[in-house]
Symmetry: C3
Subunit: 478 residues, 3 copies
């Protein structure tokens, strides 16, 4: 089988209509090289905190930790054992990374028409200089090529941070995290890497390890948590510690965005019950509903932007969870109700000028029905970009088409990549920039925006809106 | 800052693909000047009943009463006080209309890519002859220009009725309205302005002013309401009074389109309880569910078309309601179930040739799932055009794409503008005509319609379908 | 009125953008003549089992049995009596088939912009050689033409099977069917016609005729059903009988895809209660939820592919059901929850390599939210093509846009026509082939697929994916 050159279209993601394409190209030309502002994601801070950290083998970089890749391969009958994913029970899994890569290459056609395929192509070709298409036949040569690149000093995580033009990178960190790595980054002057405060595990009152979580909170906060009041104080202390290391935001992942306030008395009784190990699943749900409002109150006070990601039913497949743990690709979205659920929180703080909340959904039917109307009224509400399964060419188009007419662009929060896959960050921002420029070009061609407006908005979509959303830049408008 | 001319594209809302655009232009050329048929909206009848009525200042015309504008400005931190919206508590609000206009102009970029922006541009440029773009810098000059225009006799509401080529304009009026203004319009020969019967307030059994509403009903109907039976008689009397003044339709706004019949005995007991001031929220919901079926029965008898608008959770923000009252931009849609909810009503009257019901949704996911299938089967059901948040370029495109293949065009009710903003009526119908012609052109270019069919359907979409839907023109087809 | 020639665009369903259209045409050119693989549908086997069967009059072929046609005509006030649909009470209905055809022709404009209109045009023009448009005026001439064609030997069902290039045709048959017709087809060597096992009626424990169904099951299976255990044995026996006659799959139609396992003891008690005639609606729902998992278990054992069609509320209109029976066009979709409902079934068998389940929805909002994520993870899950109301040009486009990026193409099941209307089969597959080639062309033009990939995928979409899905061809990928 002869080698097929791997050539990416310079016009990818652009409409085929020549007038629109020409303008999209022009708009994109002005923003493609702008620095990357990445205010929400899951890159492990250790990767950057430790100057000697490396990205690992091609299999470790591209396959083993990436749940987008794993799920697609699993869906076509490849097992996680065959992909070298460590089993919880310590069972032997594939350890030959060349064999893992070969298996991946043999199934690479599965990613046709998917954003994962698009990102991988851009990473391999543009970042790593691969020149032939990935196939079963070329797999070995490409592995050798990648291995050689990854050994070069230009491909250490810290070197890539510059080469990928990353201006700011927020990680996501447990509220109980020691922040040692972020402290080291700070000390080393890498202040563009920021922590994000994520307290989810502390709200799961009924989880087997909740008391352990609380013990860690007490220890790391230096506040002994013995009741609801000390729990709140400890959380506030942690938020302050995160903020001192540059945190811009908090992050909250919930199955449903249900909010409902409790009286202090109720909250105290509930936490007392939980501290005795007697909380139920219903208690945990009610506590979360209350604490979301409480976190909104804290955001008003300390200025951290609140991010709310709702609607993922985690660990749908029990066998996968017990064998390989969470975040392996078996999280499935649910229909999500926002209008009634957020009403208590928004009535309390939605018009407070100190408050900002960014909403992320996995239920696209709520874009035009609930989210755009909420963002188009409440001063505190912005809409996050298309999230996870919807971070894709068509996902972005649906977002623009369903959100902007009601919410306006200025009530959106620009883009964030939300990824663990460090080396994929530029590719993800690039897809967003391409699709947003193509969308703006469409608006101009259809007589709905002036060309100068489109130029201005291309910059806003690429970085401005995200900086404003996370309060790195002032003002809600140019 | 130099002046930027404000030039609207003659091809706005048309696809950029040249073949499609050329045909869209041709189709639109034949319908753009057709009279405006506006069978549903919220223009205050006083505006037209009183020959001396004026449109007010530019702020009074464009900003203060328009909840689309208010909500977007509020969402970016402008307060209603600053926009001169009267507070319920009589607090002092901005009274300098030039300052209000200036504030609006400074935030005009918020409306980029929104239908509100599109309507405003068309109104200012095409109706009022503004020639430079609205910016902070040009705001004052444009205010002067508008003020001068509004003082001219050509810009009185009655003069505009002709100039805007309005063939029929339906207002929406409480069932207890005296109809004095409509009587005056009738007397003055302005019979193209029609009332619409809206009895919602009489169904809210648990509302604090329900007994007051009933008292007004008794007075205006000349029927003392003392029980369920006299309540029904009074409503029927009012429908007759509306009809005598040219009403074509009734209108019903509900949170959910839940319908369920009650026996006479149950209804009697319920109304008796309510008349004693003892009705609950649940009673009100059950009563509404019953009365919708009862109104369908009345429609069979008197021929008034029934309009059902479902799915808006009114007054989401309590503080706004208490400070400024309803209809200020804080109504948020809900997911809406139609299939099970309408089943009792449609089983009772859905196949009755005397009955017609037009359904309006804020939940676009129900277009292809529930509404198009219902309209594509029941003889009585038509689908209203994209409503409120979906009255937009993309909202219309989604409507055509999701509705027509299942319901067919002839089970839709054409367009209505549903607006309080009198001077925006032509702009709204113009967007519909443009988008529908572009959609038809797309169908022809893709070989799905013949060109002669598209020409015929352009006229149907512009006015024919609406006239048939509201029984001003006979027949369900050309 | 002069005759208007009926010319179908050779480029119908293709985008108007010239570059995309040219490639769509090229892709389509290579697949348009491929044999038709039809793994799911409702053609009566008698039509093919009996060599003397004929398609009947034009009214019998195109109108009377087609609920797509009936519902649209009913929606505009034509009654089923006027269309010659037999009434259950034996009342006299229209028996003049020329009059029925005339009525249909007079309303043919209703089908503008609908897939039914597109299929009818292709059938009449391409299969039957009609040359002028169907109108009230041409109706009679066209009837004569069709009548003449239908009398020719080329237009017998068996002749059409060849002429329409049908490689495989699956019917849908009650689990209690004698399979006599399929046995005759087998004997006659027509093994490309296959039965499909559909046991729905046996799960409706509360239906008046359930005991009758069980009696038929006992008789046809040769297993006396006296309890849960013998019920299961009888079902397994029937599946084996279907499989022996070439069945590839089972089919299950449910209102909701709710699954929940029962213990053997519970199931035994429930069936015992039902056999005493004491089962409730709730019992039936719980039994269905259990049996779906049980059928998955059987699929693992016998290799029949499980098809699950969920979300239709059958017989929405009681009067229609009582007068004319089911399947007359009054089935209305419901919102459908898949994530939680399928979890028990998928946790039991979703990763079993022997199991395959194909999911069909009428709720498009679940494509990107639930179905694509499920198919993109579970090895057993594939997504069926757009079903019923969504089997249309735009329905297919929404499907591609909302499904592929998350599920990938290889987790879809290709196309099936799901039709009772035998002569419409080629037209339906043709629309799919056209729309899928146009979609692939769009992907190439936008730089998201290589041209060689698009060529390969065009063949997959036309037949390959369907053959793999139903295990007629091996492997999940080329």
């Amino acid at each position: 089988m002869p080698t097929t050159p791997w050539v990416l279209s310079p016009d990818r993601c652009f409409s085929g209509e020549p007038g629109r394409r020409a303008l999209a190209r022009e708009l994109y030309g002005r923003v493609k090289e702008l620095p990357v502002f990445s205010p929400h994601g899951h890159v492990p801070p250790a990767l950057l905190a430790d100057p000697s950290a490396r990205l690992g083998t091609p299999a470790e970089l591209f396959i083993i930790p990436d749940h987008y890749i794993l799920r697609m391969l699993v869906s076509q009958g490849v097992s996680l054992d065959q992909l070298g994913v460590p089993a919880r029970d310590g069972a032997v899994v594939e350890s030959d990374h060349r064999a893992i890569w070969q298996r991946f290459a043999e199934h690479f056609h599965l990613f046709r028409g998917t954003p994962t395929g698009l990102w991988l192509a851009a990473e391999l070709v543009e970042l790593f200089g691969v020149e032939e298409r990935l196939t079963a036949e070329s797999a070995r040569r490409i592995y050798d090529h990648l291995e050689a690149r990854l050994a070069e000093p230009d491909f250490t995580p810290r070197a890539l941070l510059d080469r990928m033009r990353i201006e700011l990178l927020a990680t996501t960190d447990a509220a109980t995290d020691s922040l040692d790595e972020h402290r080291r980054l700070h000390t080393d002057g890498l202040t563009r890497v920021r922590p994000t405060f994520r307290p989810d595990a502390l709200l799961a009152l009924d989880a087997p390890d909740w008391l352990g979580q609380v013990a860690r909170l007490s220890a790391v906060a230096g506040v002994e948590v013995v009741d609801y009041r000390s729990f709140i104080v400890a959380l506030e202390q942690r938020r302050a510690a995160f903020k001192a290391l540059g945190a811009l935001a908090t992050d909250h992942g919930v199955v449903s965005p249900y909010t409902a306030p409790m009286s202090d008395g109720e909250a105290e009784a509930l936490v007392a019950r939980a501290l005795r190990g007697e909380a139920s699943a219903d208690d945990a749900a009610r506590f979360t509903a209350h604490m979301l409002i409480e976190f909104a109150r804290m955001s008003c006070e300390d200025g951290l932007v609140m991010q709310l990601h709702a609607g993922s039913l985690r660990n749908h497949h029990h066998a996968l969870l017990s064998r390989f743990g969470p975040d392996k690709g078996a999280d499935i979205p649910l229909a999500t109700e926002w209008t009634r659920n957020l009403r208590p929180l928004l009535n309390a703080y939605g018009a407070d000028p100190r408050f900002r909340i960014i909403l992320f959904t996995l239920d696209e039917s709520s874009y035009s029905r609930e989210l755009a109307p909420l963002a188009g009224y409440y001063p505190a509400v912005l809409l996050g970009p298309p999230w996870w399964f919807h971070d894709s060419v068509n996902g972005m188009r649906r977002y623009f088409d369903q959100v902007v007419e009601t919410a306006g662009l200025y009530n959106t929060a620009g883009f964030n990549d939300d990824t663990r896959a460090f080396a994929s960050i530029p590719a993800r921002h690039d897809v967003w920039r391409r699709v947003s420029c193509d969308w703006l070009a469409g608006q101009v061609v259809e007589g709905l925006l002036a060309e100068d407006e489109a130029h201005e908005l291309a910059g806003e979509l690429a970085v401005g809106l995200a900086k404003r959303a996370y309060r790195v830049m002032e003002g809600g408008a140019p």
